[in-house]
Amino acid sequence: MYITGWTVALSAIGAVPAMWVQERAFAWVWVIGVIALACLDAALAAKPGILGVRRSAPRAVRLTESTAVELEVVNLGSRVVSGTVRDAWQPSAGATGNRHRFRLAPGEATVCVTPMRPTRRGDRRADVVTVRVAGPLRLAGRQRSIEAPATLRVLPEFASRKHLPSRLARLREIDGQTAVQLKGAGSEFDSLREYVIGDDVRAIDWRASARRAEVLVKTYRPERDRRVMIVLDTARLSAARVGDAPRIDASIEAALLLSALASKAGDRVQVSAFDRVERARAMGVSGPAMMPVLADALSTVEPALVEPDWPAVARLVQSRLSQRALVVLMTTLDASAVDGGMLDAVAAIARSHAVVLASVDDPEVRALERGRDDMHDLYAAGAAARGALEQDAVAARVRELGADVLTALPDDLAPAVADRYLDLKASGKL
């Protein structure tokens, strides 16, 4: 049962006769009378059990984008029902204006549309549907909650997709598909160019050079159908917040951009999120189907507060890849990672694959290092510098193992990783 503001108003109106009567007992009689009237009204209200509800939500929505969920309310009874319904979702689903009034004749149905703007990635769940059936006097009514499960999957934002067009343009240049070069496409001489210092002597086409006065080298189109494997570290260090989002969000952005780029380049991409077990994976799909599958897989990845199992990561990579591939490890360069076996794992992977280790830098720590205002700032600068030295030491050891190290601020990580991929592609190291 619930009461409405009308009950309160009716109770307050009693103040007027109370001025004349001047008896405390009158106040009690009035208020108890009003409550009794409200109880009677609630008793006369229809039972909420005659209402049926059904939810329908879109399967997925990208973070920061708006959508709407529908709630169908149907009157299965034999009397007219009016009231209010609340379509409850968890707060991060961003359901605003989720209360709807309805008035339904017997057998009638209505669809209530609740706009949603999710504020967090992952599966956003619906809670109960609460219906309030008003009594004939509008003083009170019956309230009941109905279980109606529904889920809305919120995909990663993929804000880094704004970097995609420029990277695709560069990819086409590397590929020899730009408009300028397409003019001469099909002619054999277009794949030959003059030798410049620094070119591999093995690329010199001696026969062509003999025909011409200058030395010509053969140029090759970059390889297609290469394997790219992205491993996201979802262990404890990925939970730390850098700026407004955890590190894992920057890693996901980078993984999405790199996957989009690599699948356009004709490479086969697979993604794995790992800490001690594999949390999510996207593999075996190529071309345009890749991105939806990947976004779906990464939408529910959350950091786990555990230490990563690096030997298992190495075993996973070895088992998934049969030929030489590019392995991108999205993790955190930290002194503790050395003890955790990260170096051994990188060494093991780097023996048979090209490895890029990408790490998110913290702008706050960089700002700390520049602080000079007081002694507290100086010590903070010292501590930040010490951290940077340790990170450099780890990076140096990783580089010694033959892997590439990338550190960038959260917003710069995705383009930096994409650029490194294009560099590798252009130099034919993939």
Binding site: I3, A27, V74, Y379, A385
Partner: protein, 421 residues
Amino acid sequence: MSTASVDSARTRPAPSSPGFSRADDDAGLVTRARRRPVVLSAAALFVVLIVTLIWTSRPEDYTPLSTDNATPSGTRALAQVLRAQGVDVRQIGTMADARIDSPGTTTLAVAGTEPMAEYQIDALIEYPGDLVLIDPSQSVVDRIAPALSVEPSLDAAPVAAACEDPDAVAAESVRVADTGLAGDPGPDGMLCFPNDYGSHAYAVVDDGDRRVTLIASWPLVTNEHLAEDGNAALALRALGRHETVVWYVGDLFDPSTLTWSDGDGDGDNGADGAVPPTEIEANPDFLPPGTGSAVYLLALTALVAAWWRARRFGPLVREPLPVIVRASEATRGRARLYRRSRASGRATAALRATAAARMARRLGVPRAAGRTGLVPAVARAANRDESDVDRILYGAPPTDDSTMMSIIQELDTLESEVHRP
């Protein structure tokens, strides 16, 4: 309650397809009682108990000399005996509540006049009916019999009436306890129950129009002592002269004064020129008379409003929140450790190393070159002395905060001077 507009909802005939969730039908009271008999009967018992307690309870009164006070210091016994004798005893909380209709047939009993203000005593003296003053203060006694004084009494042996007042004679003997009266009661007055030291327990001043009884030895009306000696006889006779007794206990927090209506039958109380205070004078209340009950009803309405707002439209929804730890926390924690242990050397060494690495990168000095390779390069780039550069970059570690500050300052200056060659 923010409700989305109805426009967003489309009404249409119900589809026949199933798949609708429905609320379980509410189990009736009988069903619920059958399912959980113990809980329901316990709840019912609890409600009955609470109602009974509220019904039977009355506010406990511990005010000395109050007729509702059942403790030894109260006068409930006296009031009950008077009621049993057919006297209507009415206790008032404030003087303004008196509203005595007929002073000629009403005895006004005032216990403890010490807290009363001057204007209240004025009203008391002007009261045309019979007065019984229990434990009167000197300021009141002065207005009735100026030559009479109130004094403490230590002797508590029963003494005989020793006067002609019929009430006192009937009581035979009482004790002069706590306080007594001494001096001259005036031509109309009479002092009774003297002890060996000249203190009297009781005085009567009867000027023919009205009778003022002073019971100075107030313990004799209390529950504790009423049954002793002639206390009961004296108190009952003094208070039982008229059919109504209005009982007032002096209260420091009562600013109101006495009210009574002018005698409709006997007009002789206007003879002395005293104008009885009207109700408006007596109760300086600027609000309309019904305000109190209206506010009381609005207070109850506030409870109803609390119910209205407190009833949630469905349960709260749980949000599993992520852990929020800033990545810079570790660095800040390390900074606090440095500061607490005054590790200025360590902090400076780290800053020197990073600055050296940055300069080496800018100047293109390889990492392997070390101190011997970097110092000359930096000195050249900054146009400085080599020993100066060496002192700044690789000098002795600072031992206190001020040295650390100056070293870091020099380091920053040096770094700003180094430009790409």
